[in-house]
């Protein structure tokens, strides 16, 4: 363990304590403003015997964009994969603690993870439209699997989802072209439309713009802000400026611990933890 890691371990203990205190205060505020959409309680994630997340307590507010930031390997992707039980799909991976969706633990024994993933959708780093399907079917695929038949209802859902993903105007005359025939930015919005079509309550986004150019990035960022009117959005990003632009709340992770969380403006202007300050100002390493 290098000096920085040792220091970080000590600081994360302090930071974790403070984060918990702030969390408590946040929760107090929420008791007046409404309950969090999602809340993790002592969430611990493992890959085999390796503990990747060390007891995360974090509340995600409804109809807000929450950004998760931190350096590579800090556990931010693992964290959001725990939020819809995708983490356990990795062989040898497991999670302990609780993830409460509207107050109900999604890790409770009788909970169906498939249903949870319908309520909490995921958009991935790399646009991944189904390569053999056209644009229409890319959006409709999930619904067809649930038994929805072709027809006006399905057409309406596809159109509505593409509209919400700000893609309808660009593809409405090309719905039967392959999903892979459009640009990378459009493909990512197509994936967002596919997620929206399932009528989730929460949309998780794991580095959704890392493969996109600045213009496509800007469109997806605008979309994130629009989507929070209907959904709760959690986005993992390496791009701190993206978090600063789109997120209402930001949480900083380091070495599998939540170091600090709070309203984005105050976290970026005046972080309380020295580790956060050093990360944000590029003074790591």
């Amino acid at each position: 363990m290098n000096v920085e890691k040792e220091e970080a371990t000590s600081m994360t203990e302090q930071g974790g304590e403070q984060a918990r205190t702030e969390e408590f205060m946040t929760n107090m505020a929420e008791s007046m403003d409404g309950a969090p959409k999602l809340r993790t309680v002592d969430l611990v994630a493992f890959f085999g015997k390796n503990e990747a997340l060390h007891g995360i307590n974090l509340a995600i507010r409804p109809n807000k964009v929450t950004a998760i930031i931190g350096p590579s390997g800090c556990g931010k992707s693992t964290f959001i994969r725990c939020l819809n039980r995708m983490h356990e799909l990795t062989p040898g991976a497991k999670a302990t603690g609780q993830v409460l969706l509207d107050g109900e633990n999604i890790y409770a024994p009788k909970t169906d993870p498939v249903l949870i993933r319908r309520r909490i959708g995921m958009v991935f780093q790399k646009p991944n439209p189904f390569p053999t399907m056209d644009i229409y079917d890319n959006v409709a695929a999930g619904l067809k699997l649930t038994g929805m038949k072709k027809g006006k209802n399905l057409d309406d859902v596809v159109k509505n989802s593409l509209q919400q993903a700000s893609l309808w105007d660009e593809v409405k005359d090309d719905l039967h072209k392959p999903g892979t025939s459009i640009s990378g930015g459009q493909q990512q919005r197509l994936c967002i439309a596919r997620t929206i079509a399932m009528r989730p309550e929460v949309i998780l986004m794991d580095e959704p713009c890392s493969a996109l150019d600045p213009i496509a990035t800007s469109k997806v960022e605008e979309l994130m802000v629009q989507l929070k009117g209907t959904y709760t959005v959690v986005v993992v990003t390496h791009n701190m400026q993206q978090a600063a632009r789109v997120a209402d709340y930001t949480a900083f992770f380091y070495l599998g611990k939540l170091i600090e969380t709070g309203p984005t403006a105050s976290l970026f202007e005046n972080p309380k933890e020295e580790l956060t300050e050093r990360y944000l100002t590029g003074r790591f390493g």
Binding site: M240, Q241, F268, E269, N270, T276, L280, T281, G282, R283
Partner: protein
């Protein structure tokens, strides 16, 4: 390894240090000129130079924000530097205004300089503290400035109050001293603002303004 942005941040700091030194020199020279009753041409030149340096600080600050998108302490530092730079520029501008008083009223050596001398002594200390507090990022020095501000405020107000009650005044002396005391009072206010910016740089938040009793 130094960050790329640090080159610009160092340049920003050096510009501010240059401004601090020059603005101090400008005000001190203007006050001395008032006391000896002779205009000092360099004051106007230095005042103009301070304006140019303030413009440079603004341009560099905007460039740093545009190129590096600073956050946290970096962002606070740049914001504070813009405010401090403006304060230093204003020191120079009020020194220029003191010279204008000399130009307008002519020889003032026969006026009683006691009140201006006393207020200017405190103002010079406040300027010195503001420059040093910025250079050292010293919160304690910055806090001292606020405590001295009342003295300069009172000197100005008391003088006006005394004038209002006087039946026989030398209008030239009264007007010129009122103006100079007013400029010193404004300089002292800018010293307080600079002190507050130094506290903002170090602590991340400005202290609350204290109400005068």
């Amino acid at each position: 390894m130094a960050r790329l942005m640090d080159l610009g941040m160092d340049r920003l700091r050096n510009l501010l240090l240059e401004m601090g030194q020059l603005s101090q020199q400008t005000v001190v020279t203007a006050i001395e000129a008032y006391h000896v009753g002779k205009n000092h041409q360099d004051v106007n030149r230095w005042s103009n130079k301070l304006k140019q340096l303030d413009d440079q600080v603004s341009e560099l600050s905007i460039e740093l924000i545009a190129r590096f998108q600073p956050v946290a302490s970096d962002l606070r530092y740049i914001k504070a530097c813009m405010e401090i730079s403006y304060g230093f520029y204003r020191y120079g501008r009020y020194a220029h205004d003191i010279m204008e008083v000399l130009d307008t009223f002519g020889d003032l050596t026969k006026c009683d300089h006691a009140v201006v001398e006393s207020a200017s002594g405190t103002t010079k200390q406040m300027i010195e503290l503001s420059v040093e507090a910025f250079a050292k990022k010293d919160v304690e020095l910055a806090k001292k400035i606020t405590g001295m501000d009342d003295y300069v405020d009172d000197a100005y107000r008391d003088y006006i109050s005394k004038l209002m009650k006087s039946k026989h005044v030398d209008l030239r002396c009264a007007l010129s001293q009122t103006l100079i005391l007013r400029y010193l009072e404004r300089i002292a206010d800018h010293a307080v603002y600079i002190g507050r910016s130094v506290i903002f740089i170090v602590k991340g938040e400005e202290p609350a303004f204290e109400e005068r009793s």
